[in-house]
Symmetry: C2
Subunit: 356 residues, 2 copies
């Protein structure tokens, strides 16, 4: 029995390439983010700047520097533009738009989940109150449409329409996730693995897919190229969510920054749990019993081991691997420069082989 | 000393015309609203349907019928299209977009203000919880862009860009309003009447202005026509907010459905209060003292009378009258059919001469 994830770590060169791509994306996209946020009322701009790691709670430059978000979504937007032989500069507004949406959803998610810490600092609602956090999120959603329509060029409107579709999918995924918590652990009303997949594709896949689709669109790609690259990124989002679920039970707190077995403690309907419950056998009933009561540390440990023994973790890893393979198969359908394909491989590896 | 507002009520024919216009707007816009909401995940669609008065909390048709919102904003969109001799049908997506934004902001406002009742039913957060209410609001914002981009025709993208601008102004106004509550009653840090005006133009004026501007745009009007009609509606929004402030102190609870002197009890920085405080004299200090402590019913009555005696109510009424006059002057600059001009006059009167 292991209690921490020991993924097959990608080689250092792959990790360096992924870091290069996200770093480049951050550099290209950040001017758009800063220009957008500066359009807001100064108090609101300061709150958004705090969330984005630019400033401290009082608006002063953040010292020591806060680790910025990973800019994975912007990196996918830029790669997609390269994949269709377009200019990454043209795709930068797409990267900015998805990053704004990502951060809007983080701010609102933290309120919904009552999470008090993000990137080792108090969350926006914790620091500035729920009303200000709701407004800050609302403002970032607006800015995402704004940046696409103002800087997206001739294809900006089409991109904005696509963004609205993705946002619907994102919100749908979150709504499904929210409903999961109220459903029973077992019986005909229980959450199915299929429902989980639809939720994860919406909640995590839609924005990655959107980043790729918009990047391809603004990069001048065809509708087919955009759709294929979007679907590939959506599958990576599904893989990403599976890994998240594994880390949520077996992740090392020292690396994740979250308590061990947090997803079990919060009784999340995550994939490893659902996989065991779907058996509807004695172990499933045992797990449901363990999670139905307010489980203590001892029960959480028993539950984690039970899930692993019953193959819940293995199924989740299999699901991630399958989604990853689907993503690669889709990427292979798009003729692209070898360096771009290598970039996709590095980002895909970074999404899956991670410890935090 | 009066304790209820007794506005000069417009003639019955004017009231009937305003009701006709909002009724027609509701009929034209509702199919777009229903089509939009139906795009959402069913659980989320049900929550939005509840908020919009279509269904009960369990998703069943609302019986008895809930009084629908007044559709004032859609009515402005359609009138603006008529004013530029365009088709009201072309402007219907504009009306739907602003109505979606209006309802998104109501749902989020109710969370921020902890308001438990709206249209005589529990608010969305009260009925379904804060997380669901946040998501439902987020979804409606997205749908507003969606409906404009999908149904707005050739000018849809320009309209969506304008919508993003207005949303920024709306959120800015809300952010200012939020900050007001933390500022002192007197001294150099106190809220000024000028700041109040900027807040009210953003919070209430921006969406009315947007409705008019988008209606003119989709109706085929020129940029100048759209800007003039938008500015006129923005001034009506300011007048509307002034009347709201008067009702918030002197409104009749039987008509407003809210407790008497509610704005004083909640210690809102409303215009009648700010007008007296700006005197920085003995009455101003007296009022500040009354409002600084947790005022009881007796203090609230004294404060309301003090504000009236010191001319705070008169100034607020004057501000509303001035904004109304500016709106009419702007409307007179746009050559439009006489029946459309009469419609504007009726809607303007309805915004100002109201008791709830």
């Amino acid at each position: 029995m292991t209690t921490t994830v020991q993924p097959a770590s990608p080689p250092a060169s792959t990790r360096a390439l992924a870091a290069d791509l996200t770093g480049r994306a951050r550099d290209l996209v950040e001017p758009y983010l800063r220009e957008s946020v500066a359009l807001l009322e100064p108090g609101l701009a300061a709150i958004c700047g705090y969330h984005l790691g630019w400033t401290g709670p009082d608006g002063s430059p953040a010292v020591p520097a806060v680790p910025a978000g990973k800019a994975v979504r912007p990196a996918f937007a830029l790669l997609a533009a390269e994949a269709v032989c377009g200019s990454v500069r043209h795709a930068a507004p797409a990267g900015a738009a998805v990053e704004l949406i990502h951060n809007f959803s983080l701010i609102h998610d933290d309120i919904m989940d009552r999470d008090e810490e993000r990137r080792r600092r108090p969350t926006v609602w914790k620091q500035f109150g729920v009303p200000a956090a709701i407004l800050a999120g609302d403002a970032l959603q607006t800015l995402a449409f704004d940046v696409l329509l103002r800087h997206g060029g001739r294809r900006g409107p089409q991109a904005a329409e696509r963004l609205a579709d993705s946002l619907r999918e994102l919100v749908d995924g979150q709504a499904r996730d929210l409903c999961f918590a109220e459903r029973p652990w077992t019986g005909p009303e229980a959450v199915t693995v299929e429902e989980y997949r639809a939720m994860a594709l919406g909640k995590t896949g839609s924005l990655l897919a959107c980043a790729s689709g918009l990047g391809a669109l603004l990069g001048g790609g065809t509708a087919l190229q955009a759709a294929t690259l979007a679907e590939a990124a959506g599958q990576l989002g599904l893989a990403f969510q599976c890994v998240d679920d594994i880390l949520g039970i077996w992740g090392d707190p020292a690396l994740t920054g979250k308590p061990a077995r947090g997803d079990l403690r919060e009784r999340k309907r995550s994939l490893p749990v659902l996989a065991v419950l779907s058996g509807a056998d004695a172990p499933a009933r045992h797990l449901a019993d363990l999670l139905t009561a307010e489980p203590g540390e001892a029960e959480l440990l028993v539950a984690a081991d039970l899930i692993e023994e019953q193959g819940g973790r293995a199924l989740c890893e299999h699901e991630a691997t399958t989604a990853l393979a689907r993503a690669h198969a889709l990427l292979d359908r798009v003729a692209m420069p070898a360096s771009t394909r290598a970039g996709y491989a590095a980002l895909a590896a970074a999404c899956v082989a991670r410890t935090s």
